[in-house]
């Protein structure tokens, strides 16, 4: 077996034929990434500093900064869509964005978080702690008051606190799904839900064919145009988990959540 086979796409020869304007999509994917970088510079060096210096209460500044970020990402999604890099649907998104709502989603691709932040108003998000160590991103994540995931205890306390007044987005896989490997959910999501969430809303994300996974660089675009389907599921009833002590209850809820995501993602797209 060839040494590179580990990274070879797992698709049949018919599907592997490049279609849907492959080279145009490749060019536009690169352009989108460049535009993302440019947008980050405009947001980071012009818009967010403006939010910071215009006098307002901290909550007001946070809300403004999140709006700036959401509209910028919404524009980015629009560009990728209109240039034919991808197609998408986001079913039930009007259900998202309530205070105290914990939104959990699986994480198949690099840009899942872009979709959620582009469409969910005023949401906070648990993101990797590295963003606070990078001088380019530190001031942005500080201003929008996202929550860093590098200390579990502090993350849980901060997330529970945020849920008092805001919606919060959480990826229980922590990092992107590795294609063809089983999903693993960190229990902290279930723990936060039982501690502080008024409602727990799952968002099932399917990307067909897969793209921008953990295992591939941006320029390895799929032979066909990828379709992103984000489907908002029904709220998970937390009541049955309220009677047991939290350590036990959060384990049970975590298993149930994982099973539910596995079942939903198995189901053929309709």
């Amino acid at each position: 077996m060839a040494a590179h086979s580990e990274f070879a796409p797992d698709i049949s020869p018919v599907e592997a034929r490049r279609q849907d304007a492959y080279f145009w999509r490749l060019l536009m994917t690169g352009t989108s990434f460049a535009l993302f970088g440019l947008g980050a510079v405009v947001v980071g060096l012009v818009l967010l500093p403006l939010v910071r210096i215009i006098p307002a209460a901290r909550e007001r500044k946070r809300a403004r900064a999140r709006t700036v970020m959401r509209l910028a990402l919404r524009l980015f999604v629009g560009v990728m869509h209109r240039t034919g890099v991808l197609t998408y649907e986001f079913r039930g998104r009007e259900q998202l964005g309530r205070p105290g709502q914990l939104i959990v989603a699986n994480h198949p691709s690099l840009i899942d978080v872009v979709f959620l932040l582009a469409f969910v108003p005023s949401a906070g998000c648990v993101v990797k702690g590295g963003l606070w160590r990078n001088p380019l991103t530190r001031s942005a994540v500080t201003l929008v008051e996202f929550i860093r995931n590098d200390s579990t205890a502090e993350m849980i306390v901060a997330a529970a606190d945020a849920l008092r007044a805001q919606p919060l987005i959480f990826f229980p896989e922590g990092t992107r799904t590795r294609p063809r490997e089983p999903m693993v959910f960190h229990r902290s999501g279930a723990n936060i839900a039982l501690r502080a969430a008024a409602r727990l809303t799952p968002v099932y994300i399917r990307v067909r064919p897969t793209t921008l996974t953990k295992a591939e660089p941006w320029y390895r675009i799929p032979a066909r145009r990828p379709h992103f389907a984000l489907i908002v599921g029904e709220d998970v009833d937390l009541q049955p988990y309220r009677s047991a002590p939290l350590p036990l209850a959060s384990r049970e809820l975590n298993e149930r959540l994982l099973a539910q995501f596995e079942a939903e993602l198995e189901r053929p797209a309709c």
Binding site: S151, T152, A153, E154, I156, V157, R187, S188, N191, P245, L246, P247, L248, S250
Partner: protein
């Protein structure tokens, strides 16, 4: 003021109740993670219990150096006598 043994007993009953552990396994030398399978997420739940018992605000900082049941007793003592 509570003695070391009283606090240990209290921690033992809390751990038994929260994590369904065998009381005999909860010794001062028992390591939370390796011996009792209490991970960093459970520690936050434990913090809540300590907060409830001591009536004091507990932060993750207070628990950073806790590795064993004995460390936990020491933290409780410090919080109770602070």
């Amino acid at each position: 003021m509570q003695s070391h043994d009283e606090i240990l007993e209290r921690i033992r009953s809390t751990l038994v109740q929260l994590f369904q552990l065998d009381a005999a396994a909860v010794t001062p030398g028992a390591r939370l993670y390796e011996d009792l399978e209490i991970d960093s997420i459970d520690v936050v739940d434990l913090m809540d219990e300590v907060q409830r018992h001591t009536g004091r605000k507990v932060t993750p900082e207070d628990f950073r150096s806790v590795r064993t049941v004995g460390d936990l007793v020491a933290v409780m003592q410090r919080l109770l006598h602070a």
